[in-house]
């Protein structure tokens, strides 16, 4: 059941992104930014939390899940440290992902060379 929900929720989020790319002339970079920001905003108004409850990884693996972690972290930071927490919390909650992206990304870019395009 968990896997089925993850498939549906994750697939649906990607479908929305694809339709956005096809129907408008937005580049993938714009779509990524829209998705992260909407993840933050949807979490703030309380609409993304239920999606995570239902979809599990289907909602946390797509990029809005990154926005979800950022917003949740910012709220947690505010609860603990007041106004300063708004600055600490977001990156604190996503520090693992950001660091992994930098370190693994750098390592892989060093190790491998781009394939010649057919």
């Amino acid at each position: 059941m968990g896997y089925f929900n993850a498939f549906i929720v994750g697939g649906f989020i990607c479908l929305v992104g694809q339709l956005l790319m096809d129907a408008t002339k937005l580049t993938s970079a714009h779509v990524l930014i829209i998705f992260v920001t909407s993840g933050v905003v949807l979490t703030a108004v309380g609409l993304y939390e239920p999606l995570v409850k239902i979809g599990g990884a289907g909602a946390t693996i797509p990029l809005p899940g990154f926005g979800y972690s950022l917003a949740k972290g910012a709220f947690k930071g505010v609860d603990q440290n007041g106004l300063l927490g708004a600055f600490f919390g977001g990156v604190e909650a996503t520090s693992g992902g950001i660091t992994a992206a930098i370190v693994f990304g750098y390592l892989m870019a060093i190790i491998f060379n781009p394939k010649t395009k057919p």
Binding site: G2, Y3, A6, F7, G10, G11, C14, L15, G17, Q18, L19, M21, D22, S28, A29, V31, L32, I33, V36, V40, V41, T43, A44, A57, G58, I61, P62, L63, G65, F66, G67, L70, A71, A74, G77, V78, G82, L83, A86, F87, G89, G90, V91, G96, G97, A100, A101, I102, F104, G105, Y106, L107, M108, A109, I110, I111, F112, N113, P114, K115
Partner: protein, 151 residues
């Protein structure tokens, strides 16, 4: 440029738009849905395994899953498989966090010949940078609003 040239340019623009191939919404949508969903199912598998084996809390398991998915995405990009998936899947391979890793590794590899500082390290963030800028900035704004709303 005089008025006539402007008109010609306008005409040409319209012709280009008319002749540009229309995207196949159904086909692209189904591919994006399928591949995007499949990547999330893999993520769910890893999440469940981690939660079971390492006895982590739900939130820690989620973070660990994202870490592993980034590693997988970066590795597949390095090996050249991710671009093959991406050709078919479109947003299905871009939106998941593995696509975020792809957007870091692909330009970094491409510009390696420009050196390890301005080539690899700087180009890594050509797509990831904007994502972090908008994500982090909006989270701070939301946090500040939350603070004043509660006080």
């Amino acid at each position: 440029m005089d008025n006539n040239q402007y008109q010609q340019k306008d005409k040409y623009q319209k012709l280009v738009e008319k002749r540009a191939p229309k995207p196949n919404y159904w086909k692209n949508g189904i591919w994006a849905f399928g591949i995007g969903g499949a990547i999330c199912v893999i993520g769910q598998c890893i999440h469940n395994k981690i939660e079971l084996i390492m006895n982590l809390s739900h939130l820690d398991a989620t973070n660990a899953t994202i870490l592993i998915m980034i590693l997988i995405g970066a590795l597949l990009t390095g090996l050249g498989f991710y671009d093959l998936i991406g050709k078919k899947a479109g947003a299905g391979s871009i939106i998941p966090i593995t696509g975020f890793a792809n957007s870091i590794v692909a330009p970094a590899m491409e510009f390696k010949r420009e050196g390890y500082v301005f080539g690899v390290a700087a180009r890594m963030f050509i797509l990831a940078g904007p994502v972090l800028v908008y994500g982090i900035t909006s989270s701070v704004i939301v946090g500040i609003i939350y603070y004043f709303y509660n006080s």
